[in-house]
Structures are given as C-alpha cells and as structure tokens.
Symmetry: C2
Subunit: 244 residues, 2 copies
C-alpha cells in the first residue's frame, strides 16, 4: 500500500450555493478521552488529508474529497499553498495529530483546492465522519489554520466569479436576470443596483436574450436568457476585462 | 544553521518588461565531469531552491531570488504548486541532484512565485552563477519541469494583467495610450485595434486624462494620462469585470 507523504497535505474548500446562501463543506473533528469519555476536541475542519507518495495534487484532492464526503466528479481548482511554519501546532491540533497513527510531521504544508457547486443536487456520504454544509456567515470553530484557508478560498472564488463566467453553471439553462443577480449577490456578499446590473449584463455578447418568458410564475413573467460558452470563448481576445 | 526541507522547494518566475519584449530571468545549470572536464549538463533553470525548516514560502522565495540574482524588494506573488510525481526525475535532473550535497528527496514538490518588473532598471548580481534575462520567445533548454512552470506563470500573469491594473506600475507616472497599448500587446503577446483599445481605456474611470501633452518628441505630441489607484479601489465594487 502506498505510504503518505508526512509533511504535505491537500485541503478542499467546497462551496455550495443553494439560491439562498453560500455554504461550505466541513468535517467534524472529535476526540474523546479513552478512559473518562471526556471530550478533548470537538470542532470542524475542511475536507483534507495527506497526499500519497504516488499521487500528484489533483489526484489526491479528488480522492480525499470523495473519501470524506462521497462527492465525486467535482471540478476542483488549486488556488494556493499554505506553508506557515506552525500552522498545525496549536495545542489542540498537536493533540489531534498525536492521536493519529499515520506518522505525520510536526510541520505540514498544504495545497488548497476549491470548488463551487449547487449543493441542493448532491448527496453526502458520511463514511464514519460527520460531514455537513455550513453557511459561510455561521461558521463553527475551525481546526488548524482552516479559517485562513477558507478566507483565501473565498477571496479567490470571488475574484474568479468577477473575471470569468463560472456562475452560469449553477443556473438553469434558461435563466432570468434576477436569478443571475441573486447568484452574484450571494457569492460576492454584496448588493447590486438592479438597473446597473441589467445594463451591464445586456452588454455581454455571450448572454443571449430569448424570445421566451418564464412560465407558471405568479408575478409578471420575466424574459429568459442563455449563456453561450462558444460566444464567450470566441470574443475573449477582444476583451481586456479589467476595464469596466 | 537551519536545515532544508528535502522534498519542498520554491521557484521564482521573474518576468522583465523592457518596452520592447517580455523576458524571463534564468540561471545556468552546468555540471562538468571532474576528471575529463566533459560537460555533462549545460542548461538553464528558474531561480529556485529548497525552503528551510524555519521559513514560510514567501520568505523562502525572497531569499532564493536575492541569493541567486541579487534582486531585492521585488513583489512576488504565489501562483501555483507543482506536485507531479516524477517532475525532477529525468536522467539529467537526477544526475544534477546527485551532485548536490544537501540531501534532496527523489520527489520534490515546488511552489511557484511570479513577478513582473521593469528589467531595464535592475542590476543582477551573479553570486558565482550565470544569471541572465531571456526573451520568452527565445528560451534555451530548461531543466526539471521548468518549462511547464514558466508556461503556467505566463498564463497567470496574462490573466492577472487582463483583470487587474498591474501594468501601470511599469509605465512612467504620466503615460500615453500608445505606451499603455504597447505594454498590453507585449505582455499578452497579441495586437489590439488602436481605436477599440482607446475606446476601452477611455471608459475606465481610473485612467485620468491630463490637460498636458508629451514634450520633446518628434512626432505629434500625444495626450498624457495618469492611473489613479485610489479611484480604482473606490469603484471596484460597482464593477464585475468579466462583463466586457
């Protein structure tokens, strides 16, 4: 069996969007005293683990995420490597590491991956660990430096959402501008002026209005749009996106 | 003295812009047979080395860059971690590593940093190694996986130049739109239509036209502009930059 690399791990920051809020996937970290049953540690971490000697980072990230949560075939993007000298050396973290049998180093660097998915459509498998979604505005206590990692991931996610059309994958194929605006507001944690937002979107050649309106809604049905990846790619070089 | 971490290094991709082309800083890697004097290895690498046990990545990157090139106080940004299993195991690379005394691992992961500077204003110190700028269109043979690292760095640099106003730091305080266009064309490796480029730039609230023209030029003097970081920051939240 392949051996782990004692001083290198991967952590996955899985963001889940549910049309109401932005969530993140966490795993409970619980340690009880074997004799007294007293709870020594009870907090949460990102889905992470060491890489194996025969694995590259991408492979390790997919394997770790699947093992802890059951999530499979999720697009993961590497966003940053964390190498602070004492990032796993708080008393609670040292205690946790001492209770593992794998022979971890005292100094561990970790490579962060993130993803943004529609968390209403996925099923978590628990594999003996307690795994769940938390709204990013209501986080529990996090172990190691995972709060820093989560903040950096959020910064990278927001920057990516501002500069690339990754949000459209979370919308239905035909969407309204209100749905698009809601997505941007929830992920960026901000509010846009409705008129300015519409004006901006209507300038995008790759957001294409349809001669079709919403059906079966109680309010006045809104116009539907589609996103064309093909038009986006074809018009890419004529843009330089820091402009507006 | 601090010990190195045998399986973790940092590599710096220093891009230099000289108003004519985009360059990258490389270090010669040369190994001769001790008896015959035959050249066993003669190629080039990025400025890189292992981290020390008591160093984080940022500190290591600055120390390595300074040690190999003399370059100091350069803003370095981490862009990607490289962990392919056999990234330093080509025969030439293994031979090189065997001739070093530091006790490197057979598998080494590396964290990449990049920077973009005006290379006409800096002086390189050589510290017993041959260090020089190469145009990115005329690269020599590179050791390890440094060609892959360089390509990834270039991709990240271009993406950043498209989405953030990093280019202005390379221009004089007061610049013409032709200078700005030249910078974008050289770094992105593309050509822009002059009229479209001007139109785009004139929409940017943070590129501010002056009531002032170039002086001492032979051609018709062009209008001068300044970049306002303050205006850029203040108008940031009202933009979402993937739009145009």
């Amino acid at each position: 069996m392949a051996k782990i690399v004692p001083n290198i791990s991967v952590d996955c920051v899985i963001f889940g969007f549910d049309f109401n809020q932005l969530n993140v996937l966490l795993v409970e970290r619980k340690l009880e005293d074997e004799q007294s049953g007293a709870v020594l540690i009870d907090d949460w971490t990102l889905t992470g683990y060491h890489i194996f000697e025969d694995e590259d980072f991408d492979t390790a990230a997919a394997r770790i995420l699947k093992g802890l949560s059951g999530l499979d075939n999720i697009y993961l993007e590497q966003f940053y490597a964390f190498g602070a000298i004492r990032r796993v050396n708080a008393p609670k973290d040292s205690l946790w590491l001492q209770h593992q049998l794998e022979g971890f180093s005292e100094r561990i660097v970790t490579v962060g991956y993130f993803s943004l998915i529609d968390n209403t459509t996925v099923t978590l498998l628990h594999n003996n660990r307690n795994v769940r979604w938390f709204p990013i505005t209501e986080l529990p206590e996090l172990g190691f430096d995972h709060k820093d990692i989560l903040e950096k991931a959020l910064e990278k996610l927001r920057s990516k959402l501002r500069s690339e059309p990754i949000g459209f994958e979370l919308l239905p194929e035909k969407f309204t501008l209100s749905q698009l605006q809601r997505l941007y507001e929830v992920v960026l944690g901000t509010k846009f002026d409705r008129r300015n937002f519409r004006k901006k979107v209507l300038q995008m050649k790759y957001v294409i209005p349809l001669d079709e309106k919403q059906k079966g809604v109680k309010h006045k049905p809104a116009q539907l749009f589609i996103f064309s990846k093909e038009v986006y790619e074809r018009t890419k070089t004529e843009r330089f996106d820091f402009s507006i």
